[in-house]
């Protein structure tokens, strides 16, 4: 892929620790995040997409743990740091400064007892980016303005509850962007928003990325969001990458039965069939080792081999990889 990488995930495994067994939920995924690009990660809930993102900045829930692989952060051409083995203290320094995250629910991720401006200033204070109080106030007001908040100097002193959902998400973005990070992780950042607000926020994220040459990892289950802003996309199912391709390639030529099922499940604005073609069943419960393809139970193709042998990730075109027996080179 691209030579100019920012983050490289190699064979990452995340497991949930239960009494004396460990259940893998992310099963050895590889992912590249090039500088200045927006990468999408899609899949149904429970496929491990949030866990992958959370392992990047080390905020996995206490029951989950990275049990293998590495997350390599390219500081410069020659200097590479593995975020998995990094001490918590050092990782903390990077999170918020180099890596920023936006969450799904803007109300629960803002502190209700703190004014908007003070909350954003906290980022500057903790990462020791503050020069003088008046200067950072100016900087914050400028940032609020650039994320499209009207009357920013008035909003500086607002409380979170005085803002609408879209405004709160804008504040979250301002907070994430104030330290000019190199990587922005958006975990279902627009899922709870209205279509019109979603369109505005996506446009804003895209323009922020191009303006400050920032990379972004966008986690979503909405294929529409992916088509709107991403450059490259990974499709995940039960902790493994099933297909990865450039966005235009994936939508024009989806090869994995799972990707095709996901795409045909979405109703379109016109020309819908009488009934939608969908993937039957639900995501199965994660259980012990299964030798075959994880998706074979719900797959529309009926191939014997799939039950016994897990297919490898095959390259089928430039930057297009598929994990499926039915796809031939």
């Amino acid at each position: 892929m691209n030579e100019d990488l920012l983050l490289e995930i190699k064979n990452l495994t995340v497991s949930i620790q239960k009494k004396n067994e460990s259940i893998p939920i992310v099963k050895g995924i590889d992912m590249d995040l090039p500088n200045g690009q927006i990468v999408g990660l899609v899949g149904e809930s429970g496929c491990g997409k949030s866990m992958t993102a959370k392992s990047i900045n080390g905020i996995l829930p206490s029951v989950a743990k990275v049990t293998g692989g590495s997350i390599l952060w390219h500081d410069s051409k020659d200097k590479v740091t593995d975020l998995v083995t990094l001490k918590e203290k050092d990782l903390r320094k990077r999170c918020g400064q180099d890596i920023a995250m936006i969450f799904q629910e803007p109300m629960t991720s803002l502190n209700p007892m703190m004014r908007i401006g003070d909350q954003i200033r906290e980022v500057l204070r903790i990462h020791k980016l503050e020069k003088s109080p008046s200067q950072s106030r100016e900087q914050i007001i400028k940032m609020l303005e650039s994320v499209g908040i009207e009357n920013p100097s008035l909003r500086y002193n607002s409380w979170p509850h005085e803002l609408s959902g879209g405004m709160r998400q804008r504040v979250m973005i301002a907070m994430a962007m104030i330290s000019s990070p190199k990587l922005l992780i958006a975990d279902e950042a627009t899922t709870a928003l209205d279509v019109t607000t979603q369109a505005q926020i996506l446009k804003l994220m895209k323009s922020m990325c191009t303006k400050s040459s920032m990379s972004a990892l966008v986690i979503t289950h909405n294929m529409g969001v992916v088509s709107a802003i991403c450059d490259y996309v990974y499709v995940m199912y039960l902790g493994t990458v099933m297909e990865q391709a450039k966005v235009s390639e994936l939508f024009s030529n989806p090869l994995h039965p799972y990707t095709r099922g996901l795409l045909s499940s979405i109703p379109k604005l016109s020309g819908n069939p009488e009934y939608l073609k969908t993937i039957p069943g639900n995501i199965p419960v994660v259980n012990k080792k299964f030798p075959g393809c994880e998706f074979c139970i719900r797959c529309s193709e009926d191939v014997q081999k799939c039950f016994f042998e897990n297919p490898p990730l095959k390259q089928v075109g430039e930057d297009h990889f598929v994990r499926c027996h039915t796809v031939s080179l």
């Binding site: 019109t196 979405i266 379109k268 604005l269």
Partner: protein, 258 residues
């Protein structure tokens, strides 16, 4: 679709107070007819009053002004007791399948509740038969009846909610954002189920959603709401091919489709 009006609303108004001085119209002079057998979609951003309107139509809240009539008879002025026979003919499927099912009730009791409340069946055997028929209709297995809601996934819970809503053989089914909390595949499954049931049982459907692509799949007519008022009401094909109101155009432009 025949042309008889099933539910008709005229000049509905509902005001909510914000503080001592100010109040806001959640529903401002709304009149609409729902014809027998059609699916009418109510679309708009959050806060536009679509849920308030549906609750007024369902007689859950009383309007400040205006009337609602069901099959030609005015029902908005009826007492709770006189309203009962009408309520059984209009049922609702809610947005959040987790919080709309009682966690302490078994699935069997959840589905049986409307049957008992409206005293539809005389004997226990008849009722059990109906419950089995309903679980079959929403494509659930028989053994789920003795389990509790927390044992099911979101899509399955929504199926249970649908079974409860159609238990009393309603004429009108109101779906308030019934699929917006679900994953894409499960959403498609539930949409297919709703469409099939509607055709099978001859239901009339009021479908509330903010997702225009979902609406285009299911609706015959679309009603676009903004700030408590209807800004465009037209057949679905017309809304999507030649929207007239500026706001409809704006909504359509905001939808991303792969």
């Amino acid at each position: 679709m025949d042309n008889s009006v099933l539910l008709s609303a005229s000049h509905l108004k509902k005001k909510y107070r914000i503080d001592r001085k100010n109040s806001i119209f959640a529903v401002n002079d709304v009149s609409l007819d729902i014809f027998t057998g059609e699916t009418l979609a109510l679309v708009g951003e959050s806060g536009c009053g679509k849920s308030t309107l549906s609750k007024i139509l369902m007689q859950i809240i009383k309007p400040d002004e205006g009337t609602v009539s069901f099959e030609g008879k005015e029902i908005s002025s009826l007492s709770e007791r006189a309203l009962r026979p009408y309520i059984s003919r209009m049922q609702m499927v809610f947005q959040d399948p987790a919080s709309s099912l009682d966690p302490r009730m078994k699935i069997r009791d959840i589905i049986a509740e409307p049957l008992k409340a409206f005293k539809i069946y005389g004997t226990q055997a008849e009722m059990n038969e109906r419950i089995l028929e309903l679980t079959d209709m929403v494509e659930l297995k028989e053994d789920c009846l003795n389990r509790y809601p927390h044992e099911f996934s979101g899509g399955q819970k929504q199926r249970i909610g649908i079974a409860r809503a159609i238990a009393a053989s309603p004429k009108l089914l109101v779906c308030d954002e019934s699929v917006s909390a679900l994953d894409v595949c499960v959403q498609a499954q539930i949409l297919n189920l709703l469409k099939r049931l509607k055709n099978q049982l001859g239901l009339t459907c009021l479908f509330i959603s903010h997702d225009l692509s979902v609406v285009s799949f299911i609706a015959d007519r679309v009603c676009v709401m903004k700030n408590g008022a209807i800004c465009e009401l037209a057949p679905a094909e017309k809304i999507y091919s030649a929207p007239e109101h500026e706001y409809t155009k704006y909504l359509l432009a905001s939808v991303y489709c792969p």
